[in-house]
Amino acid sequence: MSFLGSSSGLRQGQFIQALLAGVLLTLLGTLNVNLLDFNVSLSWLPLLAIALWPHGAPPVRSVIAILLLGLAQDWLSMGVPGQWGLAYLLCILFFRPFDRLKPLSFMHALRLWIGALIISASVLTFSGRIIYDDWPYWAALLQPALLATLAFPLIWILRNRMQSWFSRREEAL
Protein backbone atom coordinates (compact mmCIF):
# COMPACT_ATOMS: atom_id res chain seq x y z
CA MET A 1 0.00 0.00 0.00
CA SER A 2 1.54 3.30 -1.04
CA PHE A 3 0.73 6.39 0.96
CA LEU A 4 2.06 8.94 -1.50
CA GLY A 5 -1.18 9.03 -3.35
CA SER A 6 -3.32 8.38 -0.31
CA SER A 7 -5.86 10.71 1.21
CA SER A 8 -4.87 13.41 3.64
CA GLY A 9 -6.95 11.66 6.30
CA LEU A 10 -4.85 8.54 6.01
CA ARG A 11 -1.63 10.56 6.05
CA GLN A 12 -2.92 12.34 9.13
CA GLY A 13 -3.65 8.95 10.70
CA GLN A 14 -0.09 7.83 10.00
CA PHE A 15 1.23 10.98 11.60
CA ILE A 16 -0.94 10.59 14.72
CA GLN A 17 0.07 6.94 15.03
CA ALA A 18 3.76 7.82 14.80
CA LEU A 19 3.42 10.75 17.19
CA LEU A 20 1.50 8.69 19.74
CA ALA A 21 4.11 5.96 19.55
CA GLY A 22 6.84 8.57 19.94
CA VAL A 23 5.23 10.19 23.00
CA LEU A 24 4.49 6.85 24.69
CA LEU A 25 7.95 5.48 24.05
CA THR A 26 9.53 8.77 25.21
CA LEU A 27 7.63 8.45 28.49
CA LEU A 28 8.67 4.82 28.81
CA GLY A 29 12.21 5.86 27.94
CA THR A 30 12.51 7.83 31.18
CA LEU A 31 12.21 4.59 33.16
CA ASN A 32 14.69 1.94 34.08
CA VAL A 33 14.12 -1.70 34.93
CA ASN A 34 15.81 -3.50 37.81
CA LEU A 35 15.59 -7.21 37.17
CA LEU A 36 17.84 -9.99 38.40
CA ASP A 37 20.56 -7.59 39.58
CA PHE A 38 20.54 -5.72 36.27
CA ASN A 39 19.54 -2.09 36.06
CA VAL A 40 18.77 -1.26 32.45
CA SER A 41 17.42 2.01 31.15
CA LEU A 42 14.69 2.08 28.51
CA SER A 43 16.09 5.30 27.06
CA TRP A 44 16.58 3.94 23.52
CA LEU A 45 12.98 2.87 23.03
CA PRO A 46 11.87 6.23 21.55
CA LEU A 47 14.45 5.77 18.78
CA LEU A 48 12.33 2.85 17.55
CA ALA A 49 9.49 5.25 16.84
CA ILE A 50 11.85 7.48 14.86
CA ALA A 51 13.45 4.64 12.86
CA LEU A 52 10.02 3.26 11.98
CA TRP A 53 8.48 6.65 11.16
CA PRO A 54 5.80 6.02 8.51
CA HIS A 55 6.37 7.37 5.03
CA GLY A 56 2.79 8.58 4.74
CA ALA A 57 3.04 11.14 7.56
CA PRO A 58 3.17 14.82 6.46
CA PRO A 59 6.92 15.57 6.18
CA VAL A 60 7.22 19.06 7.67
CA ARG A 61 5.00 18.29 10.64
CA SER A 62 6.92 15.03 11.11
CA VAL A 63 10.28 16.82 11.27
CA ILE A 64 8.94 19.36 13.80
CA ALA A 65 7.37 16.60 15.90
CA ILE A 66 10.60 14.57 15.83
CA LEU A 67 12.63 17.61 16.89
CA LEU A 68 10.25 18.23 19.80
CA LEU A 69 10.34 14.55 20.80
CA GLY A 70 14.14 14.67 20.84
CA LEU A 71 14.22 17.82 22.95
CA ALA A 72 11.61 16.34 25.30
CA GLN A 73 13.75 13.26 25.79
CA ASP A 74 16.77 15.42 26.51
CA TRP A 75 14.87 17.33 29.20
CA LEU A 76 13.30 14.24 30.71
CA SER A 77 16.55 12.31 30.83
CA MET A 78 18.42 15.35 32.18
CA GLY A 79 20.78 15.25 29.27
CA VAL A 80 22.19 18.20 27.40
CA PRO A 81 19.35 19.67 25.30
CA GLY A 82 19.87 18.93 21.64
CA GLN A 83 21.74 15.62 21.85
CA TRP A 84 18.80 13.31 21.16
CA GLY A 85 17.19 15.94 18.94
CA LEU A 86 20.29 15.97 16.76
CA ALA A 87 20.43 12.16 16.65
CA TYR A 88 16.75 11.91 15.64
CA LEU A 89 17.02 14.57 12.93
CA LEU A 90 20.14 12.96 11.47
CA CYS A 91 18.29 9.63 11.35
CA ILE A 92 15.44 11.30 9.46
CA LEU A 93 17.93 13.03 7.15
CA PHE A 94 19.59 9.70 6.32
CA PHE A 95 16.45 7.55 6.11
CA ARG A 96 14.17 10.13 4.42
CA PRO A 97 10.87 8.37 5.28
CA PHE A 98 8.96 11.01 3.28
CA ASP A 99 10.84 9.93 0.09
CA ARG A 100 10.12 6.25 0.61
CA LEU A 101 7.78 4.74 -1.98
CA LYS A 102 6.76 1.52 -0.26
CA PRO A 103 5.80 0.62 3.29
CA LEU A 104 8.59 -0.98 5.28
CA SER A 105 9.18 -4.69 5.23
CA PHE A 106 10.48 -6.31 8.40
CA MET A 107 14.02 -6.74 7.06
CA HIS A 108 14.14 -3.20 5.69
CA ALA A 109 12.90 -1.91 9.06
CA LEU A 110 15.56 -3.93 10.86
CA ARG A 111 18.27 -2.43 8.64
CA LEU A 112 16.89 1.05 9.37
CA TRP A 113 16.95 0.29 13.09
CA ILE A 114 20.59 -0.81 12.97
CA GLY A 115 21.40 2.35 11.01
CA ALA A 116 19.56 4.44 13.61
CA LEU A 117 21.54 2.73 16.39
CA ILE A 118 24.85 3.55 14.69
CA ILE A 119 23.91 7.18 13.98
CA SER A 120 22.55 7.80 17.50
CA ALA A 121 25.42 6.06 19.27
CA SER A 122 27.91 8.11 17.22
CA VAL A 123 26.10 11.39 17.92
CA LEU A 124 25.80 10.69 21.66
CA THR A 125 29.40 9.52 21.94
CA PHE A 126 31.09 12.34 20.06
CA SER A 127 28.82 15.16 21.25
CA GLY A 128 29.21 13.83 24.80
CA ARG A 129 32.97 13.75 24.36
CA ILE A 130 32.93 17.43 23.38
CA ILE A 131 30.49 18.53 26.10
CA TYR A 132 31.63 16.41 29.03
CA ASP A 133 35.25 16.04 27.97
CA ASP A 134 34.95 12.31 28.63
CA TRP A 135 33.91 9.15 26.81
CA PRO A 136 30.55 7.66 27.74
CA TYR A 137 30.15 4.75 30.11
CA TRP A 138 29.86 2.11 27.40
CA ALA A 139 27.71 -0.31 29.36
CA ALA A 140 25.12 2.42 29.98
CA LEU A 141 25.19 3.25 26.27
CA LEU A 142 25.02 -0.27 24.88
CA GLN A 143 22.74 -2.10 27.34
CA PRO A 144 19.68 0.08 26.61
CA ALA A 145 20.43 -0.21 22.88
CA LEU A 146 20.46 -3.99 23.21
CA LEU A 147 17.22 -3.94 25.20
CA ALA A 148 15.56 -1.75 22.54
CA THR A 149 16.78 -4.16 19.85
CA LEU A 150 15.14 -7.02 21.75
CA ALA A 151 11.95 -4.96 21.91
CA PHE A 152 12.10 -4.23 18.17
CA PRO A 153 9.88 -7.16 16.97
CA LEU A 154 7.23 -6.31 19.56
CA ILE A 155 7.21 -2.63 18.61
CA TRP A 156 7.12 -3.63 14.92
CA ILE A 157 4.00 -5.77 15.48
CA LEU A 158 2.29 -3.06 17.56
CA ARG A 159 3.12 -0.43 14.94
CA ASN A 160 1.63 -2.53 12.13
CA ARG A 161 -1.49 -3.20 14.18
CA MET A 162 -1.92 0.51 14.82
CA GLN A 163 -1.39 1.33 11.14
CA SER A 164 -3.95 -1.29 10.10
CA TRP A 165 -6.42 0.12 12.60
CA PHE A 166 -5.95 3.64 11.25
CA SER A 167 -6.30 2.37 7.65
CA ARG A 168 -9.51 0.48 8.42
CA ARG A 169 -10.89 3.49 10.24
CA GLU A 170 -10.10 5.71 7.28
CA GLU A 171 -11.72 3.27 4.84
CA ALA A 172 -14.81 3.06 7.04
CA LEU A 173 -15.09 6.84 7.06
Partner: protein, 321 residues
Protein backbone atom coordinates in the same frame (compact mmCIF):
# COMPACT_ATOMS: atom_id res chain seq x y z
CA UNK B 1 18.95 -0.08 2.39
CA UNK B 2 17.57 -0.60 -1.12
CA UNK B 3 17.59 2.70 -2.96
CA UNK B 4 14.83 1.46 -5.28
CA UNK B 5 12.37 2.00 -2.43
CA UNK B 6 13.04 5.72 -2.57
CA UNK B 7 11.88 8.44 -4.91
CA UNK B 8 14.22 11.20 -6.02
CA UNK B 9 11.76 12.75 -8.44
CA UNK B 10 9.23 13.68 -5.81
CA UNK B 11 11.22 16.57 -4.35
CA UNK B 12 8.57 19.19 -4.97
CA UNK B 13 7.03 18.93 -1.51
CA UNK B 14 10.27 17.95 0.13
CA UNK B 15 12.29 21.10 -0.51
CA UNK B 16 10.68 22.75 2.49
CA UNK B 17 11.33 19.62 4.55
CA UNK B 18 15.07 19.91 4.10
CA UNK B 19 14.95 23.56 5.14
CA UNK B 20 12.99 22.62 8.27
CA UNK B 21 15.49 19.82 8.91
CA UNK B 22 18.37 22.25 8.55
CA UNK B 23 16.76 24.72 10.98
CA UNK B 24 16.14 21.85 13.41
CA UNK B 25 19.77 20.74 13.22
CA UNK B 26 20.95 24.31 13.84
CA UNK B 27 18.62 24.59 16.86
CA UNK B 28 19.98 21.35 18.32
CA UNK B 29 23.62 22.30 17.82
CA UNK B 30 23.01 25.78 19.29
CA UNK B 31 21.29 24.27 22.33
CA UNK B 32 24.15 21.83 22.84
CA UNK B 33 26.70 24.61 22.57
CA UNK B 34 24.91 26.97 24.96
CA UNK B 35 23.31 24.57 27.46
CA UNK B 36 26.39 22.71 28.63
CA UNK B 37 26.82 20.35 31.53
CA UNK B 38 26.71 23.01 34.25
CA UNK B 39 23.93 25.04 32.71
CA UNK B 40 21.48 22.16 32.69
CA UNK B 41 21.53 22.00 36.45
CA UNK B 42 20.52 25.61 36.88
CA UNK B 43 17.65 25.54 34.47
CA UNK B 44 14.26 26.34 35.88
CA UNK B 45 12.80 24.63 32.80
CA UNK B 46 14.43 21.39 33.98
CA UNK B 47 12.69 21.78 37.35
CA UNK B 48 9.41 22.47 35.56
CA UNK B 49 9.74 19.38 33.38
CA UNK B 50 10.57 17.34 36.49
CA UNK B 51 7.37 18.63 38.11
CA UNK B 52 5.39 17.31 35.15
CA UNK B 53 7.24 14.06 34.69
CA UNK B 54 7.37 13.05 38.37
CA UNK B 55 3.69 12.01 38.74
CA UNK B 56 3.64 10.60 35.18
CA UNK B 57 6.72 8.49 35.79
CA UNK B 58 5.33 7.34 39.11
CA UNK B 59 2.21 6.16 37.30
CA UNK B 60 3.98 4.51 34.36
CA UNK B 61 6.57 2.83 36.58
CA UNK B 62 3.98 1.14 38.82
CA UNK B 63 3.62 -2.05 36.73
CA UNK B 64 7.40 -2.20 36.22
CA UNK B 65 8.03 -1.80 39.95
CA UNK B 66 5.40 -4.49 40.58
CA UNK B 67 7.24 -6.85 38.26
CA UNK B 68 10.56 -6.05 39.95
CA UNK B 69 9.06 -6.66 43.40
CA UNK B 70 7.68 -9.99 42.21
CA UNK B 71 11.16 -11.13 41.12
CA UNK B 72 12.74 -9.82 44.32
CA UNK B 73 10.17 -11.60 46.44
CA UNK B 74 10.96 -14.84 44.62
CA UNK B 75 14.71 -14.51 45.06
CA UNK B 76 14.26 -13.33 48.67
CA UNK B 77 12.27 -16.45 49.52
CA UNK B 78 14.99 -18.63 48.06
CA UNK B 79 17.60 -17.24 50.40
CA UNK B 80 15.34 -16.57 53.42
CA UNK B 81 16.62 -19.48 55.50
CA UNK B 82 20.31 -18.56 55.13
CA UNK B 83 19.50 -14.90 55.74
CA UNK B 84 17.57 -15.74 58.88
CA UNK B 85 20.52 -17.61 60.34
CA UNK B 86 22.90 -14.79 59.44
CA UNK B 87 20.56 -12.17 60.88
CA UNK B 88 20.27 -14.03 64.20
CA UNK B 89 24.04 -14.11 64.50
CA UNK B 90 24.26 -10.44 63.58
CA UNK B 91 21.58 -9.54 66.13
CA UNK B 92 23.53 -11.27 68.87
CA UNK B 93 26.68 -9.39 67.90
CA UNK B 94 24.87 -6.06 67.64
CA UNK B 95 23.35 -6.46 71.13
CA UNK B 96 26.83 -6.78 72.58
CA UNK B 97 28.03 -3.81 70.54
CA UNK B 98 25.02 -1.76 71.63
CA UNK B 99 26.00 -2.28 75.27
CA UNK B 100 29.53 -1.14 74.42
CA UNK B 101 28.22 1.87 72.56
CA UNK B 102 26.13 2.93 75.57
CA UNK B 103 29.27 2.96 77.72
CA UNK B 104 31.25 4.86 75.05
CA UNK B 105 28.45 7.37 74.58
CA UNK B 106 28.36 8.03 78.29
CA UNK B 107 32.12 8.53 78.30
CA UNK B 108 31.91 10.84 75.27
CA UNK B 109 29.29 12.99 76.94
CA UNK B 110 31.52 13.42 79.96
CA UNK B 111 34.48 14.39 77.76
CA UNK B 112 32.31 16.84 75.86
CA UNK B 113 31.21 18.43 79.13
CA UNK B 114 34.80 18.72 80.29
CA UNK B 115 35.99 20.19 76.98
CA UNK B 116 32.92 22.34 76.38
CA UNK B 117 32.63 20.88 72.89
CA UNK B 118 29.52 21.25 70.77
CA UNK B 119 27.51 18.24 71.88
CA UNK B 120 25.26 17.66 68.86
CA UNK B 121 26.27 15.39 65.99
CA UNK B 122 26.97 16.59 62.45
CA UNK B 123 24.55 14.03 61.11
CA UNK B 124 21.20 15.78 60.82
CA UNK B 125 18.32 14.45 62.84
CA UNK B 126 15.59 15.82 60.59
CA UNK B 127 14.89 13.62 57.60
CA UNK B 128 12.24 13.54 54.91
CA UNK B 129 11.24 10.27 53.26
CA UNK B 130 10.73 10.34 49.50
CA UNK B 131 10.32 7.86 46.70
CA UNK B 132 12.75 7.68 43.82
CA UNK B 133 10.31 7.48 40.92
CA UNK B 134 13.02 7.49 38.30
CA UNK B 135 16.60 6.27 38.41
CA UNK B 136 18.45 7.48 35.33
CA UNK B 137 21.55 5.55 34.32
CA UNK B 138 22.51 7.09 31.02
CA UNK B 139 25.94 7.09 29.36
CA UNK B 140 26.65 10.56 30.74
CA UNK B 141 24.03 11.20 33.42
CA UNK B 142 23.19 9.36 36.61
CA UNK B 143 20.39 11.00 38.51
CA UNK B 144 17.29 10.24 40.53
CA UNK B 145 13.93 11.94 40.45
CA UNK B 146 12.20 12.20 43.84
CA UNK B 147 8.50 12.78 44.40
CA UNK B 148 9.07 15.37 47.15
CA UNK B 149 10.38 18.90 46.91
CA UNK B 150 10.52 22.31 48.55
CA UNK B 151 7.09 21.89 50.13
CA UNK B 152 8.54 19.04 52.20
CA UNK B 153 11.52 21.16 53.21
CA UNK B 154 13.92 19.74 50.62
CA UNK B 155 16.42 22.16 49.14
CA UNK B 156 19.46 22.17 46.89
CA UNK B 157 22.50 20.58 48.52
CA UNK B 158 20.68 18.25 50.91
CA UNK B 159 22.14 14.76 51.24
CA UNK B 160 20.06 11.83 49.99
CA UNK B 161 20.45 8.51 51.78
CA UNK B 162 19.21 4.95 51.81
CA UNK B 163 19.49 2.82 54.96
CA UNK B 164 22.79 1.49 53.50
CA UNK B 165 24.50 4.79 52.79
CA UNK B 166 24.73 8.04 50.87
CA UNK B 167 23.23 8.11 47.37
CA UNK B 168 23.88 11.68 46.29
CA UNK B 169 22.68 15.21 46.84
CA UNK B 170 19.86 17.43 45.61
CA UNK B 171 20.74 19.59 42.61
CA UNK B 172 17.28 20.81 41.62
CA UNK B 173 14.31 21.30 43.91
CA UNK B 174 10.86 21.93 42.54
CA UNK B 175 7.79 22.38 44.70
CA UNK B 176 6.86 18.68 44.66
CA UNK B 177 9.79 16.98 42.97
CA UNK B 178 13.54 17.13 43.17
CA UNK B 179 16.47 15.88 41.16
CA UNK B 180 19.36 14.04 42.83
CA UNK B 181 22.88 13.89 41.42
CA UNK B 182 24.07 10.38 42.19
CA UNK B 183 27.56 9.81 43.58
CA UNK B 184 28.56 7.95 40.42
CA UNK B 185 27.55 10.79 38.05
CA UNK B 186 30.31 12.40 36.01
CA UNK B 187 29.72 15.74 37.75
CA UNK B 188 29.72 14.46 41.33
CA UNK B 189 32.65 15.43 43.57
CA UNK B 190 32.46 15.05 47.35
CA UNK B 191 35.14 15.14 50.05
CA UNK B 192 35.45 11.83 51.89
CA UNK B 193 37.63 10.24 54.54
CA UNK B 194 38.62 6.81 55.71
CA UNK B 195 36.83 5.87 58.90
CA UNK B 196 39.89 3.90 60.06
CA UNK B 197 42.72 6.33 59.37
CA UNK B 198 40.87 9.62 58.74
CA UNK B 199 42.83 10.00 55.50
CA UNK B 200 40.99 12.30 53.14
CA UNK B 201 40.26 12.19 49.40
CA UNK B 202 37.73 13.40 46.88
CA UNK B 203 35.21 10.90 45.58
CA UNK B 204 34.74 11.61 41.89
CA UNK B 205 32.01 9.97 39.84
CA UNK B 206 32.88 8.87 36.32
CA UNK B 207 29.59 7.18 35.36
CA UNK B 208 31.04 3.81 36.26
CA UNK B 209 29.70 1.72 39.13
CA UNK B 210 32.87 2.35 41.13
CA UNK B 211 33.72 6.07 41.49
CA UNK B 212 37.36 7.13 41.78
CA UNK B 213 39.17 8.32 44.90
CA UNK B 214 41.15 11.37 43.81
CA UNK B 215 43.80 13.57 45.43
CA UNK B 216 45.24 10.84 47.63
CA UNK B 217 48.63 11.95 48.92
CA UNK B 218 51.47 9.43 48.99
CA UNK B 219 51.64 9.41 52.77
CA UNK B 220 47.93 8.92 53.30
CA UNK B 221 46.81 5.64 54.75
CA UNK B 222 44.12 4.21 52.48
CA UNK B 223 43.60 0.46 52.43
CA UNK B 224 41.31 -1.86 50.56
CA UNK B 225 38.18 -2.49 52.63
CA UNK B 226 38.31 0.84 54.49
CA UNK B 227 34.92 2.30 55.30
CA UNK B 228 34.51 5.58 53.41
CA UNK B 229 32.56 8.40 55.04
CA UNK B 230 31.85 12.00 54.15
CA UNK B 231 34.47 14.27 55.68
CA UNK B 232 32.30 17.37 55.65
CA UNK B 233 35.30 19.41 54.52
CA UNK B 234 33.31 21.27 51.89
CA UNK B 235 30.71 22.40 54.42
CA UNK B 236 27.98 21.22 52.05
CA UNK B 237 27.43 17.69 53.36
CA UNK B 238 27.49 16.61 57.02
CA UNK B 239 30.49 14.66 58.30
CA UNK B 240 30.16 10.95 58.98
CA UNK B 241 27.64 9.76 56.36
CA UNK B 242 28.50 6.27 55.16
CA UNK B 243 29.56 6.23 51.49
CA UNK B 244 30.96 2.74 50.88
CA UNK B 245 34.14 0.68 50.95
CA UNK B 246 37.50 0.98 49.22
CA UNK B 247 38.15 -1.50 46.43
CA UNK B 248 41.18 -1.84 44.17
CA UNK B 249 40.98 -2.23 40.42
CA UNK B 250 43.22 -4.53 38.40
CA UNK B 251 45.54 -1.60 37.59
CA UNK B 252 46.00 -0.73 41.27
CA UNK B 253 43.64 2.24 41.30
CA UNK B 254 41.61 2.81 44.47
CA UNK B 255 37.89 3.17 43.91
CA UNK B 256 34.74 3.12 46.03
CA UNK B 257 32.07 0.48 46.15
CA UNK B 258 29.04 2.59 46.99
CA UNK B 259 27.00 1.15 49.84
CA UNK B 260 23.80 2.99 48.99
CA UNK B 261 23.79 2.02 45.32
CA UNK B 262 24.30 -1.74 45.50
CA UNK B 263 20.56 -2.40 45.34
CA UNK B 264 17.93 -0.59 43.26
CA UNK B 265 17.03 2.72 44.84
CA UNK B 266 13.38 2.99 45.78
CA UNK B 267 12.64 4.79 49.04
CA UNK B 268 15.20 7.29 50.25
CA UNK B 269 15.42 9.91 52.94
CA UNK B 270 16.68 13.40 52.50
CA UNK B 271 18.78 14.75 55.38
CA UNK B 272 17.78 18.36 56.01
CA UNK B 273 21.24 19.68 56.74
CA UNK B 274 21.98 23.38 56.65
CA UNK B 275 25.33 23.80 54.89
CA UNK B 276 27.90 26.18 56.30
CA UNK B 277 27.28 29.51 54.66
CA UNK B 278 30.00 31.21 52.69
CA UNK B 279 31.29 34.15 54.70
CA UNK B 280 30.28 37.48 53.27
CA UNK B 281 32.77 40.36 53.19
CA UNK B 282 31.51 43.23 55.33
CA UNK B 283 32.23 46.83 54.40
CA UNK B 284 33.65 48.34 57.57
CA UNK B 285 34.80 51.93 57.78
CA UNK B 286 38.52 52.29 58.47
CA UNK B 287 39.23 53.71 61.93
CA UNK B 288 41.85 56.38 61.95
CA UNK B 289 44.13 55.99 64.96
CA UNK B 290 46.31 58.77 66.14
CA UNK B 291 49.67 58.12 67.73
CA UNK B 292 48.63 59.13 71.23
CA UNK B 293 45.66 56.73 71.20
CA UNK B 294 47.83 53.59 71.21
CA UNK B 295 48.40 52.32 74.75
CA UNK B 296 51.80 50.84 75.62
CA UNK B 297 51.92 47.10 74.78
CA UNK B 298 52.61 44.67 77.58
CA UNK B 299 55.24 42.19 76.47
CA UNK B 300 56.61 40.23 79.42
CA UNK B 301 57.27 40.29 83.09
CA UNK B 302 60.29 42.14 84.30
CA UNK B 303 63.15 39.97 85.42
CA UNK B 304 62.73 40.67 89.06
CA UNK B 305 59.00 40.11 88.79
CA UNK B 306 58.06 43.52 90.15
CA UNK B 307 55.63 44.35 87.42
CA UNK B 308 54.85 44.23 83.74
CA UNK B 309 57.35 45.60 81.28
CA UNK B 310 56.20 47.75 78.39
CA UNK B 311 57.40 47.79 74.81
CA UNK B 312 59.28 50.95 75.58
CA UNK B 313 61.11 49.33 78.51
CA UNK B 314 64.64 48.33 77.54
CA UNK B 315 65.56 44.76 78.38
CA UNK B 316 67.46 44.28 81.63
CA UNK B 317 71.15 43.79 81.31
CA UNK B 318 72.60 40.31 81.49
CA UNK B 319 69.31 38.68 80.58
CA UNK B 320 68.98 36.65 77.46
CA UNK B 321 66.09 37.73 75.27
Amino acid sequence: MPRTSYSRADTEHNGLVYWVLLVGLIICITLMATQGREARMRQSIQAQSDEIISPLTSLVSKPIRGLENFFYTLSDRQRAFEENKALRAELQRLREEQANFAVIENKMQRYEQILGARPESDIPLRKVAARAVNDLKGPFVRALLLDAGRESGINVGHAVMTPDGLVGHIILAGSNSSRVLRLDDLNSRIPVMSERSEAVAVLAGDNSDFPKLLFIDVGMDWQVGDLIMTSGDDGRLPRGLVVGHVVETSNGELRAKLAGLQTPVDWVWVALFAPIETPVAVDMPLIEIEEGDIPPVETSQTVDGTGPATAETPPAEGVNP
